[in-house]
């Protein structure tokens, strides 16, 4: 791992950071609106100095300040009812968060109780599979169930991923509505002391349709990821945790006896479990109960784990796309959810690599610096995303819709 020098950071902001693209994405149009001018930007400087309530009238102003402060990173907050930089001079009642992209945060540390390959801050391509699965499931659920279209997924630079939703309705959601949506999408609940963390169905009833819809891709990946690759039930703690999730006492004690006597792999244990269920009479409540339990186990080990607090409040700050992760030096690049399975966090460009590419490219008047580096496809991805939003604004203005943010 490389650590990032001040000079590298400054060069990155001056020559590569896509301020214009970020502006278009936040502002959803060419001329600055409240979406940008009343937006809080918070800077983290070296030595953990934290500067809140900055706001800017234009991209140029924004870039100038970033280059002056050279922050280790910066975060994006809500649009307030007054300009954040005027916070001290307005009445507290006149300074309220009003609009904000709906954001979600998935962090690998929430998977520590499941993954066997790494723990804490560490992440490898094997545990990234959990993240890519979460992206596929949430992206689909949010689009089909809530009808939102403008979703931007951004790699957090180390061990997680952020989602920013910019649809007009999503930006306008109240905190209560955000909380309701988080409730709808949350399936895993309960801390360490709770064995069974999935309690989403009415007693003896099938899953709610939204979760049923997620089950199929999850069940597929469960075989490869949980049984084969992570081999979650191989260790004693692993299979004991599994036994806690089996409601049928007879099957539970049979399996406990069997697995205590001789060791076997997760796949073999899963096969044992399924064989036990097959022995039950076809149409019986015991069998139904056990097949529901299997579904719940699949969900518990694979369903996306959300950091709910991030999403519930409009005034939560979230690191801006294209910032540099200070420990890894990697850029927080946007990620295409349709190609998420091929995304490798270890291949994401680092700031050192990008500056090298710039040095080697030499001078070329016709292209911007970023176009000469491997940052290009990522910036183009954000530009396409922002263009979609700006097109929506243009259409709305033409049809006379109220877009006065």
């Amino acid at each position: 791992m490389e650590s990032v020098s001040d000079d590298q950071m400054l060069a990155f902001y001056r020559r590569l950071y896509p301020f214009k693209s970020i502006f278009h994405w936040l502002n959803q149009g060419h001329a600055p609106t409240r979406l940008f001018t009343h937006r809080e930007l918070a800077f983290t400087l070296k030595g953990d100095v934290y500067l809140r309530y900055n706001s800017f009238n234009t991209t140029e102003e924004f870039k100038k300040q970033v280059c002056l402060l050279n922050p280790t990173r910066f975060e994006i907050g809500p649009v307030y009812s007054a300009r954040p930089k005027d916070k001290k001079t307005v009445r507290p009642a006149a300074f309220k968060p009003t609009l904000r992209e709906l954001v979600f945060d998935i962090d690998m540390t929430d998977y520590d109780e499941i993954r066997t390959c790494c723990s804490d801050a560490a992440i490898c391509s094997r545990c990234w599979v959990f993240i890519s699965l979460a992206v596929r499931v949430l992206d689909k659920a949010i689009r089909t169930q809530f009808g939102y279209k403008h979703l931007l997924w951004v790699y957090s630079g180390r061990r997680g991923i952020h989602l920013w939703i910019s649809d007009k309705e999503a930006i306008e959601l109240t905190d209560d509505e955000r909380k309701a949506m988080v409730g709808w999408l949350t399936v895993i609940a309960g801390g360490k002391e709770m064995h069974k963390k999935v309690n989403v169905r009415q007693p003896n009833k099938p899953l709610p349709p939204s979760i049923q819809a997620a089950l199929e891709p999850l069940a597929e990946t469960f075989m490869d990821l949980i049984l084969e690759d992570q081999d979650c039930f191989e260790s004693k703690e692993g299979w004991q945790e599994l036994l806690h999730l089996i409601p049928d006492k007879e099957i539970q004690s049979d399996l406990r006896e069997r697995w205590t006597k001789h060791e076997n792999s997760s796949s073999e244990k899963w096969a044992d479990l399924r064989a036990k269920i097959k022995e039950l009479p076809k149409v019986s409540s015991r069998r139904t109960l056990m097949s529901y339990a299997l579904e719940d186990i699949v969900l518990q080990y694979t369903y996306p784990r959300l950091d709910a607090e991030v999403s519930k409040h409009r005034n939560h700050l979230l690191k801006a796309p294209f910032c540099i992760h200070p420990k890894t030096g990697r850029v927080c690049v946007p990620v295409d959810p349709h190609d998420i399975d091929n995304f490798d966090p270890e291949k994401v460009p680092t700031v050192g690599q990008l500056l090298n590419e710039l040095d080697q490219a030499g001078s070329d008047e016709h292209h911007a610096d970023w176009e000469k580096t491997s940052l290009k496809p990522y910036i183009e991805m954000l530009d396409r995303h922002a263009a979609g939003l700006m097109e929506e604004t243009r259409l709305a203005v033409r049809s006379g819709m109220d877009m006065s943010w």
Partner: protein
């Protein structure tokens, strides 16, 4: 001019309804009454509505079930605020509905003045609306609902079929769900955040498919929201109205009528029932004869420990104040009770607090004695503390033995316990306490179900004690009168 009834006979049915100035029995009250209203109408419409709302509020306080509340409200409405459906052709529905309309608006004026009043008014009005909604004529209700723009679309049958299994799965929390009988409505999901959060609806493209039976919750939510908003607006506009000298006294009167409802009647004031002056040395006797269990427990703890912790002093001290103990007698009472405490420590630490609770120190507030609701919902007693409600805060066996040792001299026996404990187990602490009152006042002829009089339940420790003292006084008066008669006849 024709009267409404004369015209009715000549017209087909649909026409008859459309002639009504108020086409629906239900009303969101989103438009103020614009006709001239006499000052008498102003007052009677409001008073009659208040009689209904006060009964609803007292039902909440007395923990009545929804069905009981519904019955009581319907009875009261029939008497004071009848509101017939449009099919009641022989009734002047418009004038009933006009009265309903005016009464609501006058009470808005009376109850917008404080946040507490607004909250209570909305709660009572919402209950009234729900009862009317539940009992409304089905056709008329349907027409009312479609007259409002709730911005929902009925899901066409073909679409219901298309999402059949999803709709069934999403409705699995209903006990008797039958897809064939259910109609669905589409609304933006943000209109039903509660249902979304609990995954109680089917969601597609940002639209929630709300079954008809959940539709009412959208309507109630909408009504509540708009009423809350309207009351705040009225509160802001009220200062202008205050110039009208004819109306203000009426409004004052109305809001006080609501405030003096069951829950707060006993909270303040120090009028003693008998008009006699209470003294510190009378307290032991009154405690034995007239205290509810919570105060008995406090009093006996005080006698045993010669001390009470802060929360206990507060609960008991304010009770004594309302019971009729004057400030001087209160200081005497507490001074004697804290017999282990030195004079200067008492003066330094306790005298001020007693005077404070009588409103003689500090911000000189007239502190109210705690009602049952306040006692039940305040912080539960910790170790060494004696405040709270024994029915709620004692373990079952401790409560049983405390009741026997406290009240057996007044006629309570072990055979009474199962009845009391059933109420306790179902968390109806008021009911348990009221039952104990009935048993211990059996010697005055109080019967089961009579409560502390006319079926009323215990809602305040001071109300318990005062009613108990009233019974005693009534008997003394009769006895006195009897002995007078004896004296007179002997002369």
């Amino acid at each position: 001019m024709f009267s409404a009834r004369e015209r009715v006979a000549k017209l087909p049915e649909v026409e008859r309804y459309s002639n009504l100035k108020y086409p629906y029995r239900l009303n969101f009250y989103d438009r103020p009454p614009l006709d001239d209203i006499t000052i008498e109408e102003f007052e009677t419409c409001a008073l009659d509505r208040l009689r209904v709302l006060a009964e609803i509020e007292s039902s909440f306080v007395r923990n009545r079930t929804w069905d009981e509340l519904k019955n009581v409200t319907q009875n009261q409405s029939e008497k004071y605020l009848p509101l017939n459906s449009r099919t009641a052709l022989t009734v002047d529905r418009d004038s009933e509905r006009r009265k309903d309309h005016i009464g609501h608006y006058v009470l808005r004026l009376a109850f917008c003045r404080s946040e507490d009043l607004r909250r209570r008014f909305v709660k009572a009005e919402l209950a009234l609306f729900r009862i009317r909604y539940d009992t409304d004529d089905a056709d008329e209700r349907r027409d009312f609902v479609s007259s409002k723009d709730f911005n929902w679309v009925e899901v066409p049958e073909s679409e219901v079929k298309q999402h059949m299994s999803d709709l069934i799965a999403a409705s699995s929390h209903f006990k008797d769900f039958d897809l064939k009988k259910e109609r669905f409505f589409k609304v933006k999901w943000t209109r039903v955040p509660d249902l979304v959060e609990k995954r109680k609806v089917f969601l597609k493209d940002g639209m929630a498919y709300v079954p008809q039976r959940e539709q009412s919750s959208i309507i109630f939510q909408e009504y509540q929201k708009s009423l809350e908003k309207a009351l705040e607006l009225t509160a802001k506009a009220l200062p202008r109205l205050d110039e009208d000298t004819r109306i203000v006294p009426i409004l004052e009167n109305l809001s006080q009528g609501f405030l003096a409802g069951v829950s707060s009647e006993w909270s303040t004031g120090t009028a003693s029932t008998n008009g006699e002056q209470l003294t510190a040395d009378m307290i032991d006797g009154i405690a034995r004869a007239h205290y509810p269990m919570c105060m008995r427990h406090l009093h006996e703890t005080l006698r045993r420990d010669k001390h009470l912790k802060h929360n206990g002093r507060l609960q008991y001290g304010l009770f004594l104040k309302v019971l009729g103990l004057s400030i001087d007698e209160a200081i005497t009472f507490w001074r004697r009770s804290f017999s282990k405490i030195q004079e200067d420590k008492f003066n330094k630490e306790y005298r001020y607090n007693i005077r404070h609770s009588y409103g003689l120190e500090g911000k000189r507030a007239n502190y109210a004695a705690k009602s049952c609701v306040q006692i039940l919902t305040a912080e539960a007693p910790g170790t060494g503390e004696a405040h709270g409600c024994p029915y709620r805060h004692f373990s079952e066996d401790n409560l049983a033995s405390a009741l026997i040792s406290t009240y057996s001299s007044q006629g309570l026996t072990t055979s009474d316990l199962p009845d009391i404990m059933t109420a306790v187990k179902s968390k109806h602490y008021h009911v348990a306490c009221t039952r104990v009152f009935e048993i211990t006042h059996g010697r005055y002829g109080v019967k089961k179900g009579e409560g502390i009089g006319l079926g009323e339940s215990v809602t305040h420790p001071n109300q318990y004690a005062a009613k108990s003292r009233e019974y005693e006084k009534a008997r003394m008066d009769t006895m006195e009168k009897a002995s007078e008669d004896v004296v007179m006849s002997s002369t």
